[in-house]
Amino acid sequence: MQEAMISKAKALLADGTVTRVIGWKRGEFVYDVTPAVFESAQELDEGFVYDDFTAANVSKYLIKESRKEGKILCFLKPCDTYSFNQLIKEHRIIRENVYIVGIPSDGKLDAEKIKSKGITGILSAQRDGDTVKVETLYGIETLPLADAMLEKCLSCKSKKHVIYDELIGEDGEVIDSDRFDMVEKLENMTAEERFEFWRSELSKCIRCNACRNVCPACSCEKCVFDNPQSGVENKAPADSFEENMFHIIRAFHVAGRCTDCGECSRVCPQNIPLHLLNRKFIKDINSLYGEYQAGEDTTSRSPLTNYDTEDCEPKIVHERGVE
Amino acid sequence: MNKYLKEQVLRSSGANVLKCMRCGKCSATCPSYDEMEYHPHQFVYMVEKGDIETLMKSESIYKCLTCFACVDRCPRGVEPAKVVEAVRLAAERQQGGDRLVPTDIPELLDDELPQQAIVTAFRKYTK
């Protein structure tokens, strides 16, 4: 796949379709793959990487990149195309300045997860059917794929590209995923249990802002939490409440816009399952206001900028489920 | 006024008799009108008043063909046929209230009568 992508990128650079390519390059370790911009065939040959650790969604970078001189090529996995579309809807990306090549993805590996199994010194990882063969400094380890895959990929919602100029490989389908199972499980707990669950999770937050910075929906020019005028500004955590406040407001601000790309949880250094907050909003929106997938198109109104005169009353919250 | 009976009829019919605006279209459209002592609109009105026992004693409850013309035509969705049906059920549910008992059947049988009619009648006239 990597070879096909590099040759595609080279061809598009050569015929002048694009002047730059946004892709990924290797970091310090084999599993540190980070987005990078390439401007020549040589740079591509030297650094372009696309492998099982290449999980980062590059859509958000295109806000800035698409405003620069010349057209840029980007490779989008199915989940990334939703973020991209959503950003077009919000007038953040200039579509004409981006050339999209859709690439298939059958899930990415999670180095943190592998490491949590006691495997260290990772040199490479090979997928082999339902297992992953990890080559380490200390020899080869094999573990089941589910134990090595990113959480967001395990509950993948779609293998379909909702926007692209061309595709490498076949397009997939929207998947009937089980992504709301955990939300449901939480909903079925008692309020006390839920409170304890979230307190133990959110209290781990160190306010590094990684979730915010990676989130394609959190693309505000200036975040309310950075703005002294907003009255809620706080950059460092002072106590448990502010984590609540930050994460609730963040989830609320992206509600109806979050495509469930899962990047927030992927990048969280404290492994807080932040996607469970977003998914709660998505689940509620789906059940209360009709199925809605942010980023599926570029024209529909998001559920929070829309209404129906027959919408349910807020007391539905008080009447349902476990107290 | 029999509160208990009224509630029972309202519940089993599922009809809202308060929606009636007394236009009489149900009775205007009823094919059994001339056979009936109390007509569909009177059923609705009397159920609203709670005067159910009078209706239960009347032959009218067996005259309704359940053709649902009144249900179809009622401008306000009152569903008079369901009210009649509910009153009939209330009558049949009383002890010895069955209109038709199995021993009556042989007498009714003749070559002309479709079996279906017997089955339907049995369903309609017994609890």
Binding site: K89, E90, S302 | R22, G24, G77
Partner: protein, 663 residues
């Protein structure tokens, strides 16, 4: 440094009886920034206001808090007082310690505590108040009337009378509307044309009135005093400025089998037509669906006959844009379609007609020249049955839940006219209730019964069956006699419910006005503002607001005109300064605010910005038109970055109040 004055009102004993006003003034005097804190018997009295004014001057106050009755009561009073003393009126905050404190609580200690907290919240807020100035927005001295029926005509005439230009947009080729189709009017029985056509002519001749017939409104932008409206003049394939209305073309047109909509399809017209003799403008229109020239390219008779060369087969729809200060909606009504009422055999028998069809059948200019004949065989009918409430007062699924209001009276009229002209004809009216509130209305109905012997029967018709002998079997119940009737009728007339015109719904969206579930326009207040819509500058005239008869329609039309004139008389209007404002530096340009704005007050522009790294970047940013914004604040919550804020109720002001209350 803020210098805030606090003034606590006793309101006689209204406040002072349950709130220790002296203690409140004392407590608030220690709040940050407060330099003077006083109490007084009646703060709203002249001497009370003077006390405030003097304090503003003496202490050079930068904000004042009045602890008194509800701001809905006296906010304006104190704003004016502040302005008179040289303080911006929007630097005044009211702490509502009467309606929301002294009047509802009994215990002096707790009520006083609460009053202090309410006062503190107001002080906290006033710290953050900014001086605001109301914008003035100019008023375009021209009105638009949408709909050219009697409502629209009357409104236009009244506005023109006051000296303002007014445009009428009518979708049909002629103005006149439903009233032009009506034969006689109740309760006076004068002929509708005799009273309507002079008004039509008056409108045509008035130089202040401009009629856009065969036209539709396709877009409305702007706001009160300054609407920009796009009007589509549909191609009529006849040059309006040349056509003299001689009618020669309509006589010679070979295509004579076009259903005549003016006569409810009861007879035919030609492909080029003038709807009726007194049409205004009296200009021919070609129906392109039937015109042989337009369909086959072969004919051109009208073009040859026309001595002034008005025929133009290549005419195109034309869009015109015009500015208006006020818009009056007069889109009127239509009878409902009767496809859900098969039991009345409307679609099976030509002898079952609606009341509006009957109007045409009885009209001298109608298909039978005014002689009432049975449509099927053109014979004189001897028995006519009227059915009331067809589709009115129904379940939502079956018809309309409301009473159509006019049917009882026009049915009495029809019955009476028929009995008058044809005494040998028996007339039955099946009714549920006869509703005749109105001047001389019940007397009129009684005349139908007492003088003309119309048979009024309480009960509904259940079924109408056409019989082989051509008559109609009407099966109905007589609720008072408790019997089922069968009447052999020659004709059945259905009083079909009326509904708002289909064009009203898209129009309401364009105008951002509210409609009820039945698509009638909603008035700003059901009792006190019946001819205004909730959207400023949009007024309602006639049946578009609810079922109405002619006198009521005309009364409302004039009322709407008066409201429009009141607006047009002003040179400019003062806008509420508490409007949204976008901080361009923080705006993402994501359009969330624009989507929730009910007034279309938010627009986007691409602006160049100097970035921190000294580069320039072009960003899409929102800006709010303060003359359009009504200050609801929906955008402020939709905005994720907090770039959108509401003046007078800013995020920081509300949060300051929250803090003061919770602390």
């Amino acid at each position: 440094m803020q210098r805030i004055g606090v003034f606590v009102c006793h309101c006689g004993t209204n406040i002072a009886a349950t709130v220790d006003v002296k203690a409140v003034a004392e407590a608030l005097s220690h709040e940050p920034g407060v330099v003077v804190s006083q109490d007084y018997q009646y703060m709203c009295s002249e001497s009370g206001q003077n006390l405030v004014k003097d304090a503003i001057k003496e202490h050079k106050l930068t904000g004042i808090v009045i602890c008194s009755c509800s701001p809905r009561m006296h906010e304006n009073t104190f704003r004016k007082a502040a302005a008179a003393a040289g303080l911006n009126p929007y630097l005044v905050e009211i702490a509502n310690v009467r309606e929301q404190c002294s009047w509802i609580h009994k215990d002096i200690a707790t009520a006083t505590d609460k009053a202090v907290i309410l006062g503190k919240a107001a002080v906290a807020k006033v710290h953050l108040n900014a001086p605001l100035t109301s914008m003035e927005s100019p008023v375009v001295k021209r009105a638009l009337v949408i709909g050219g029926g009697i409502a629209g005509i009357q409104t236009a005439l009244d506005i023109a009378e006051a000296g303002f230009d007014v445009d009428i947009v009518e979708k049909q080729p002629t103005i006149g509307g439903k009233m032009a189709q009506i034969d006689k009017t109740f309760p006076t029985l004068d002929c509708a044309a005799c009273i309507l056509t002079p008004k039509m002519v008056e409108a045509a001749q008035n130089e202040k009135i401009h009629i856009h017939s065969f036209s539709e409104v396709t877009d409305v932008k702007g706001f009160v005093g300054n609407f920009t409206v796009t009007i589509k003049k549909k191609a009529r394939y006849v040059d309006e400025t040349k056509c003299t209305g001689c009618g020669l073309c309509t006589e010679k047109c070979p295509m004579k089998k076009v259903p005549n909509e003016f006569n409810m399809g009861l007879d035919n017209r030609t492909a080029i037509y003038i709807p009726f003799a007194q049409a205004v403008p009296k200009v021919a229109t070609i129906d392109p669906n039937y015109c042989l020239m337009m369909k086959t390219g072969k004919c051109g008779v009208c073009s040859k006959m026309c001595s002034v060369g008005a025929i133009d087969y290549k005419q195109q729809d034309q869009l015109i844009e015009e500015k208006y200060g006020a818009i009056v909606v007069a889109t009127g009504f239509n009878p409902i379609k009767l496809d859900k009422f098969d039991e009345f055999a409307y679609s099976h028998s030509p002898d079952v007609v609606t009341s509006l069809e009957l109007e045409r059948l009885m009209n001298a200019a109608g298909p039978n020249g005014g002689t009432l004949l049975r449509p099927s065989d053109k014979k004189h009918p001897h028995t006519i049955v009227f059915v009331q409430c067809v589709g009115s007062r129904c379940d939502d699924e079956k018809g309309k839940p409301y009473c159509s209001k006019i049917c009882c009276m026009y049915t009495a009229k029809h019955a009476m006219l028929i009995r008058e002209k044809y005494p040998d004809t028996e007339v039955y009216v099946f009714y549920i209730d006869v509703r005749t509130p109105g001047k001389n209305f019940d007397e009129f109905y009684r005349r139908a019964v007492e003088q003309y012997n119309v048979h009024y029967i309480k009960g509904m018709v259940g079924k109408v069956t056409p019989k082989s002998d051509g008559q109609l079997d009407v099966q109905a119940s007589d609720l008072l006699a408790n019997e089922q009737l069968h009447i052999n009728a020659d004709m059945v007339v259905l009083a079909a419910a009326i509904e708002p015109d289909k064009t009203a719904r898209p129009l309401a969206t364009m105008l951002t006005t509210q409609m009820d579930t039945n698509d009638f326009f909603t008035e700003a207040h059901p009792k006190l503002r019946p001819v205004e819509s909730a959207t400023a500058g949009i007024f309602l005239s006639g049946a578009c607001q609810g079922p109405k008869d002619i006198p009521e329609t005309v009364a409302q039309a004039s009322a709407a005109a008066a409201k429009a004139i009141g607006l047009l008389c002003k040179n400019s209007i003062t806008c509420n300064p508490c409007v949204a404002q976008s901080d361009e530096l923080m705006c993402n340009g994501c359009s969330s605010c624009e989507k929730v704005c009910p007034y279309g007050a938010i627009t986007y522009t691409d602006k160049e910005f100097r970035m921190p790294d000294r580069t320039t970047a072009i960003r899409r940013v929102a800006s709010v038109n303060p003359a359009v914004c009504q200050g609801c604040g929906a955008c402020t919550v939709a905005c994720p970055s907090g770039a959108m804020d509401l003046k007078g109720f800013s995020n920081s002001q509300i949060m300051a109040e929250v803090d003061a209350i919770c602390k």
